[in-house]
Subunit: 389 residues, 2 copies
Amino acid sequence: MLPFTFYSPTYFAFGEDTENQAGALVRRFGGARVLLHYGKGSAVKSGLIDRVKRSLSEAGVTFVELGGVAPNPRSGLVYEGIELGRREKVDFLLAVGGGSVIDSAKAIAAGIPYDGDFWDFYKGKPVKEALPVGTVLTIPAAGSEGSPNTVITREETLEKRGMGSDLLRPAFSILNPALTQTLPAYQTACGAADIMTHVFERYFTNTEECEITDRMCEAVLSTIVYEMPRVMANPNHYEARANIMWAGMLAHNNLCGVGREQDWASHDIEHELSAQYDVAHGAGLAVIVPAWMKYVYRHDIARFAQLAVRVFGVNMDFQNQERTALEGVARLQGFWRSLGLPANLRELGARAEDIPMMARRVNFKGREKIGGFVPLAVEDIEKIYQLAW
Amino acid sequence: MLPFTFYSPTYFAFGEDTENQAGALVRRFGGARVLLHYGKGSAVKSGLIDRVKRSLSEAGVTFVELGGVAPNPRSGLVYEGIELGRREKVDFLLAVGGGSVIDSAKAIAAGIPYDGDFWDFYKGKPVKEALPVGTVLTIPAAGSEGSPNTVITREETLEKRGMGSDLLRPAFSILNPALTQTLPAYQTACGAADIMTHVFERYFTNTEECEITDRMCEAVLSTIVYEMPRVMANPNHYEARANIMWAGMLAHNNLCGVGREQDWASHDIEHELSAQYDVAHGAGLAVIVPAWMKYVYRHDIARFAQLAVRVFGVNMDFQNQERTALEGVARLQGFWRSLGLPANLRELGARAEDIPMMARRVNFKGREKIGGFVPLAVEDIEKIYQLAW
């Protein structure tokens, strides 16, 4: 186990009707004048935004609104939010929505007190100050409700970049599983792939002797494997939705990643798919992760066998561990397929001739290779795209 | 899953030599004048206190010292600490030691700004204000380094009472597994029993549909079952010590308990043993918990079978689930026995004639029964003591 720090100061309010605590929680965490940030419609149509506004008003919190956040949130709206927030002298960001809305709110929160272009933070400059952010989560997937991270796409260049700062850990996050009961099946499945991949990126490590974090990872994965079929059979299954929602937070607040090197190549490889074909992040991951696994599993067959046995209930083949390892990958593919997720690039509508170009466009962040588990160069990534074909 | 809130804002610094960050962390969390609180010798003898003092001085933090905390910390030293802290105008409590030292520091931290007897808080008055507390942990067991709880024994009456407040969650906790390498085998084993019981008290619940917290519980338990034999074989095993130390925190910051009713009868039943015979808390638990399990398992055989299969690797007997459930209890007993822990009241030096009196003395906190899983009256507790004989 490597030395680490762990800091997750977010206050979580979990359960039905918890959105009605939004006003009191803004107060508790020092807010009086809120920028209320949300997406393109469903939170408004469902009446959620109205309930949140009522809660704010009842707590004596004033607010201005900025809706319209799209999936893969853009810099344009962030600049707009920063300007609005400064003009209206807001002291708190409240995001109502999924990861895109929360990520956009984090960017605005860092940008308002900063005397410069907020994009500097996404180019690597550390955040020194930020307004507090609260969230009302509607989609379990990105984990932004408990993480220090935010990903924004720059409008002009379509560069998609992430950054993180402990100052951007939400002050509070409101998680009402009932709000997720209306999520369409496909979006729910994409969220599950995203949650599981947040764990895989941490699980596949070269750091030895991390039994406790291995077990935490397996706890989250096993929960998703158990609960997702129940949600697919009955979208209104509150209990299954609740377990998935909490697991989604645990998958990405780094509880599953402390004390170990992490990988994150699959995220980088998937990003190019999303950029090129505008596919949902989770759908892209469902295609890339199994291909990545098939390309790298020989690097640590025992670890892949452990996943197969502990999470997918594969019987250990003691004479042939490799068979066990590959059976685990096959079970994962079958599981994602059963959720209605795509299994290969063709199903995503990709073009074979784009593969070399996409491999070259992967963001290497100035390094020669990406990935902490098995470092991958451009030619490796090309082979992974081909395995995903 | 029940509605819940979860709030664990403690900053954890984990790894070798992290005690040298004590001064900087006190500064980061607003301290300038520290009351340095510790126990009866080993932290001094080992040179740890000197390293912490050096770190404080280097960070420009001044301090006054109060050593001498004993296991089952007493009110007398708390009063002394409150007086000293007020006189010296300290603004931060730094506890260096195990759960007893941390619990004593929490009591002092709540008592200094309070215009009244600190014992009021242990009688149920909510804490409204407290100085921040930091910890340098030396014993993985009580989980106080990440919990809001503190237990103090009142000197005059030998009443042992606990209380909790989010204001008493440590601001930071320093966890250096190397500091635990010198713990004697018996104390290490008692700590393991304490850690596992913190999980059992949450695992045995009547709340249905908590897959994610069940899995978290099983993650912590499985880790202890895996790591403890390695520590018993080699007390200097840093990696095993590290996994146990982090698991000990996770067992009790309530990550394993959110969204579910909890039990806590075994703790109440054990307290009388500690009070009567001055046995280590963990040793008492090793005797009480299996007896409690044998008394209550019929209430939910499937849950006990789940523990047996998932944590102790018992093969499920589908024709006879009860056999599986009981085999799990037997495995737990065998495991604790293998660590050198006592298996019954006789080994603890108890007297059979004390049993009725102890059962009557259990703290019912004004209720007729204790325990959230199976409520227990005095006569039930007497039977559990008899099963433990």
